[in-house]
C-alpha cells in the first residue's frame, strides 16, 4: 500500500465513529426512563388511552393549545366521551408529585383531590421530565406555564 499508514489510521477512526454507540452503551443497563407509574383505575384513565398518549401526547397538547387559544374552547371530549378541562394543569393533576410533600412547593396539592396518584409508587415528580431526558426532548412550555417541580430542569 502507498501511504498505507495514513489510510489505515483513517479507517480505524472511521470504524471507531461507527461503533461509537456500541462502546458508549457498553455495560450499561438498557433500562429505559424511570417514569413514575400512575395507577390506572376505572375512573382515572389518561386523557386518551395510554398507548396513544405515549406517542401522541405532544400533538394532543398542540391541539389543546390551538383550540384553547384560537377557538376559545375550554373543554376537550376524548374518544370515550369523557370531558377534560383544557389546561396543562389537567395533566399535572394526575401526573405530579401526588401527596408526597414537596420541598419546592411547586406541586399542586389542590388539584390532587382526584386521588389518582398512588403515593407509594408515585414518589417522583419527574413524570414528564424523566421520559423527556431519555428521549432528549426539551419542551419549552415550562418557561411560561407553571409546571411540575423539576420540569424546568
Amino acid at each position: 500500500m502507498y501511504k498505507g499508514g495514513k489510510i489505515i489510521a483513517a479507517l480505524i477512526i472511521f470504524v471507531a465513529f461507527l461503533t461509537f454507540p456500541i462502546f458508549y452503551n457498553l455495560g450499561k443497563a438498557n433500562a429505559g426512563p424511570d417514569v413514575p407509574v400512575v395507577q390506572q383505575t376505572a375512573t382515572t384513565q389518561c386523557v386518551e388511552p395510554a398507548e396513544y398518549m405515549r406517542a401522541n401526547h405532544m400533538q394532543l397538547l398542540n391541539k389543546w393549545r390551538d383550540s384553547f387559544v384560537q377557538q376559545g374552547k375550554t373543554e376537550y371530549v376524548n374518544s370515550q366521551g369523557k370531558t377534560f378541562e383544557i389546561s396543562l394543569q389537567s395533566c399535572l393533576q394526575c401526573h405530579s408529585t401526588g401527596t408526597v410533600p414537596n420541598a419546592g412547593g411547586a406541586s399542586i396539592p389542590a388539584s390532587n383531590t382526584g386521588g389518582v396518584s398512588n403515593p407509594a409508587l408515585n414518589t417522583s415528580d419527574q413524570f414528564c421530565v424523566s421520559c423527556h431526558n431519555y428521549a432528549s426532548v426539551k419542551p419549552t412550555c415550562w418557561s411560561c406555564h407553571s409546571g411540575p417541580e423539576g420540569a424546568t430542569k
Binding site: 489510510i7 461507527l18 454507540p21 429505559g32 405515549r54 406517542a55 400533538q59 432528549s136
Partner: protein
C-alpha cells in the same frame, strides 16, 4: 426509463418490508437480522474498498491549473490551491470535503445566438454546488441527531444540534429545519437529472436509485415523526438493545418504523457497492491530497524495480589491472 426501474426497485423494497412485517410476521428479521447484516456489509465493504484503492499506484503529483504554482519570488503563489506545505494541503482537503471547493468551480457551457452567429458562452453555475452542500450537511446533521436514539445519556452536542435544528418551534414535535432542507435538496438533485437533457443522458439507474432510496428514507422518517407517531421510548430501548447486542423487538410499533429501518439497512449494504463510496473516495483524490512539490523534492517512483547498478567505480575496481596493462587511463591508482 432508467429512473422508473430505480423507482420500482424502491417500491418493491418498501413492499417487502411492509408485507414481511405485517403479513409474514417477520419483525425480528427486519428489525434485527437485516440491520446487523447491513452494518457488517457496510463496515466490511467500506474498509475493503478503501484498502483496495490504497493498494493502487499513486500517480505523480498533479499540479492543477486552478492556482499559481510556486515559482519566482515575485510571482504570488496560491498557497491553498497549489500548496507546497502540508498545512496548505490540509486546508485544501478541508475545503474540498466540507465545502465542495471543486464543485464551486462548476461552470455551464452554452451556445448563444451572437451578432455573428452562434457563440460559445461560459458562465458560473452554483446551483449544483449549493444543492449538494445543503443536501450533504442536512444529511450529516440528521445522522448525528439520530444518536439521541442510540445512546444514553445523550451527549450535549447532540442535544444542542437537536435544539438548533428545531429552533423555529413550529408545531409539536417541532419541525426540524434539516428535514425540510433535505427533502428540497434531494428533490432538486433529482429534478436536475431528469430536466437537463445532457445530465439525463448520462444518468444511470445507479444514479437514480440512491436518490429514491434517500428520498424514501427521509419521507418515512418524516411521516413517523409528524404523522404516524411511534413510541420513541420503545424505539430507543430497542436501538440501545441493538447496540448492546441484546435486541428486543418493541411491541406495538407501526410498520412504518420497519420500512424506515429496512430502507436504511439496504442503503447501508448498498453503499460499498456503489458510487456512494465517494464518501471515502474524496479523501483519496490524487489532484487534491498531495503537496505540489514536483520540482522542489526528488520523488522516486515507489514501484521502480530494484536494479543492480554497476557504477564506473566498481567497473574500474574490477578491471583496473587489465586497464593499466593496455594503457587505459584510470582514476584511482
Amino acid at each position: 426509463m432508467k429512473a422508473l426501474y430505480s423507482f420500482l426497485a424502491v417500491i418493491v423494497l418498501i413492499l417487502i418490508a411492509t408485507l414481511g412485517v405485517n403479513v409474514a410476521n417477520m419483525s425480528s428479521v427486519f428489525g434485527i437480522i437485516v440491520p446487523y447484516l447491513a452494518f457488517v456489509v457496510f463496515v466490511g465493504g467500506f474498509v475493503y474498498r478503501v484498502i483496495k484503492w490504497g493498494k493502487s499506484p499513486v500517480p505523480f503529483r498533479i499540479p492543477t491549473t486552478c492556482g499559481q504554482q510556486k515559482s519566482l519570488p515575485w510571482i504570488k503563489q496560491s498557497k491553498i490551491e497549489n500548496p507546497t506545505s502540508a498545512l496548505g494541503v490540509i486546508v485544501r482537503m478541508a475545503l474540498e470535503i466540507l465545502f465542495f471547493r471543486s464543485l464551486f468551480r462548476n461552470t455551464k457551457t452554452e451556445l448563444k445566438e451572437g451578432p455573428y452567429g452562434p457563440q460559445l458562452a461560459y458562465g458560473s453555475a452554483k446551483w449544483l454546488w449549493f444543492g449538494s452542500l445543503v443536501f450533504h450537511w442536512s444529511f450529516l446533521i440528521i445522522v448525528i441527531r439520530h444518536l439521541r436514539l442510540f445512546i444514553e445519556p445523550v451527549p450535549f452536542f447532540v442535544q444542542m444540534l437537536d435544539g438548533l435544528d428545531g429552533m423555529l418551534q413550529i408545531g409539536l414535535p417541532p419541525i426540524y429545519l434539516t428535514d425540510l432542507f433535505f427533502v428540497v435538496a434531494v428533490t432538486f438533485l433529482f429534478l436536475r437529472r431528469i430536466l437537463i437533457p445532457r445530465v439525463k443522458y448520462i444518468s444511470l439507474p445507479a444514479d437514480y436509485f440512491p436518490l429514491f432510496m434517500i428520498f424514501s428514507i427521509a419521507v418515512s422518517g418524516i411521516l413517523m415523526r409528524y404523522f404516524y407517531k411511534v413510541d420513541i421510548i420503545a424505539i430507543k430501548e430497542f436501538a440501545i438493545g441493538l447496540a448492546q447486542f441484546h435486541p428486543v423487538i418493541p411491541q406495538g410499533i407501526g410498520v412504518i418504523f420497519y420500512v424506515h429501518i429496512f430502507l436504511v439497512s439496504v442503503l447501508f449494504a448498498y453503499f460499498p457497492l456503489s458510487k456512494l463510496m465517494h464518501m471515502g473516495g474524496i479523501f483519496l483524490s490524487p489532484t487534491r491530497n498531495m503537496i505540489s512539490n514536483n520540482r522542489m523534492v526528488r520523488h522516486i517512483n515507489p514501484w521502480n524495480p530494484v536494479l543492480e547498478v554497476h557504477t564506473y567505480e566498481h567497473y574500474e575496481d574490477e578491471f583496473r589491472e587489465k586497464m593499466k596493462k593496455v594503457g587505459l587511463p584510470v582514476e584511482k591508482e
